[in-house]
């Protein structure tokens, strides 16, 4: 008898069956509704930052440390999808070398076209993992501008990972995420220029009221990791969400909602064929919601 219902998959996953957990997450990702009990508040760390900063490698270190300390760690790594083919190359998993797969659960998730919005089912996946007993849930996303900050909506602790070798540390400043993060890890402290990068980030924050601490780490050598973990563990989660985060969360939710509108594909089509402008397209969607 094949027990493939969400209910039985959840029950099996609760008993530790990884395959059931994996299939359960697939169903959630594909839009199946799930009625999850909410007995536990999820502990969620969002890790974001520009590509190449070393997020995945750093997460490997964090997960390794926590799992050695008997914490069960689950990682959901979101990568962009191709706007043309819809496919995705999910390569974050390749960096997981130190952590023990028996203790650490890793799932690669394609944005599935949902850039700037929240990947379908992500919130349900997080709640499911939490209910199944995962102590630490890490969400990894690429942050290259306002578009990829959906992680802010689902995490109560935000870690920004930046580094010295991207040429222009000011990019992070421009994106505005510097002030929204709870902690900033300046990675690659083993490389020359890392101190200058740290200083540059700190200077960029010097006019904020409550700037996030900037911590130098090296995911390559492990330097500074324990300090970073201590900071993560002891910081106050932003459960209430500051105004800035509230705005971003709302906008991400709106974007996801708009994409689910039955008019969406037609409007996109009309814009692409030059029948209407994007402004007119937006008005059409607004009218639709107004009439609901």
């Amino acid at each position: 008898m094949e027990l493939n219902s969400i209910f039985s998959l959840f029950a099996n996953a609760k008993h530790g069956d990884r395959r059931s957990l994996a299939k359960l997450l697939t169903k959630i990702e594909n839009g199946e509704e799930i009625d999850i009990p909410t007995t536990k508040a999820a502990w969620v760390l969002g890790v974001t930052g520009p590509p190449g900063a070393g997020k995945s490698t750093l997460i490997d270190r964090l997960a390794s440390y926590w799992s050695e300390n008997r914490q069960r760690v689950a990682i959901l790594a979101v990568d962009p999808s191709s706007p043309i083919s819809g496919g995705a190359l999910l390569g974050d998993r390749a960096r997981m070398v130190h952590s023990n797969p028996a203790q650490v659960f890793f799932r690669s998730i394609s944005a599935r076209g949902n850039h700037g919005g929240i990947p379908n089912g992500l919130e349900d996946m997080i709640q499911t993992l939490s209910e199944l007993g995962w102590d630490r849930i890490i969400i990894e996303t690429v942050g290259v501008g306002q578009g990829e900050f959906a992680v802010i909506s689902v995490a109560d602790r935000i870690l920004l990972v930046d580094g010295p070798d991207r040429g222009d540390v000011l990019q992070a400043e421009k994106a505005g995420i510097l002030e929204i993060a709870d902690l900033i890890a300046c990675n690659k402290s083993d490389l020359p220029g890392s101190l200058a990068a740290m200083k540059s980030i700190e200077d960029g924050l010097s006019y904020s009221e409550n700037p996030p601490p900037v911590i130098g780490v090296s995911s390559l050598t492990g330097d500074g990791i324990e300090n970073l973990i201590h900071r993560i563990e002891t910081m106050e989660p932003d459960l209430g969400k500051s105004t800035a985060r509230a705005k971003i969360s709302l906008e991400c939710s709106m974007i996801s909602r708009i994409r689910k509108s039955p008019l969406y594909d037609d409007v996109v089509n009309d814009i692409s064929k030059n029948k209407i402008t994007s402004k007119e397209g937006a008005e059409r969607l607004e009218e639709y919601y107004g009439r609901l």
Binding site: R18, R19, S85, G87, L89, R93, A94
Partner: protein, 145 residues
């Protein structure tokens, strides 16, 4: 489909695997690349946790005769009979029958066009819809040619 592209053993040649991974992405698939130097156990755990429908194993170092059958056995032991296994890299003709015998459904050697693995997976999809054997534990001798 969710497809795992895996580099097994100590073989450090990843160019082919990455090209195939990108081609599959351009074909609309969600491709999980395992990175280098994965053991058979790790590859199976990855395929299991990612709920992959297919696993492509790349090997150019000559260790295929040992690694591939082990991966196939472990997949079956994990109850993952329905996962399609395909192989790429350097596999001498004389070794291919043995691999097919383990449940491998396609072998893509040098000279394979970018489109072939995509067409193969399309075929796998169609066969799955018709309940025809495609998995490493499904038996039968269907293979890509």
């Amino acid at each position: 489909m969710r497809v795992v592209i895996a580099k097994a053993g100590l073989d450090g040649h990843d160019r082919g695997a990455k090209i195939i991974a990108r081609a599959l992405r351009d074909g609309g698939h969600e491709v999980i690349y395992t990175g280098l130097r994965r053991t058979p156990e790790q590859i199976v755990a990855i395929a299991r946790d990612e709920d992959a429908s297919a696993v492509g194993i790349s090997t150019l170092s000559g260790a295929h005769a040992r690694l591939i059958p082990t991966i196939c056995e472990l997949l079956r032991a994990e109850g993952m009979d329905e996962v399609t296994v395909f192989v790429g890299g350097i596999i001498p003709d004389t070794d291919r029958e043995a691999l097919y015998g383990c449940g491998v459904r396609a072998i893509f050697g040098p000279g394979t066009s970018i489109n072939e693995p995509i067409t193969f997976l399309q075929n796998v999809n169609e066969r799955t819809q018709q309940n025809l054997p495609v998995g490493v534990g499904h038996g039968g001798d269907w293979k890509w040619s």
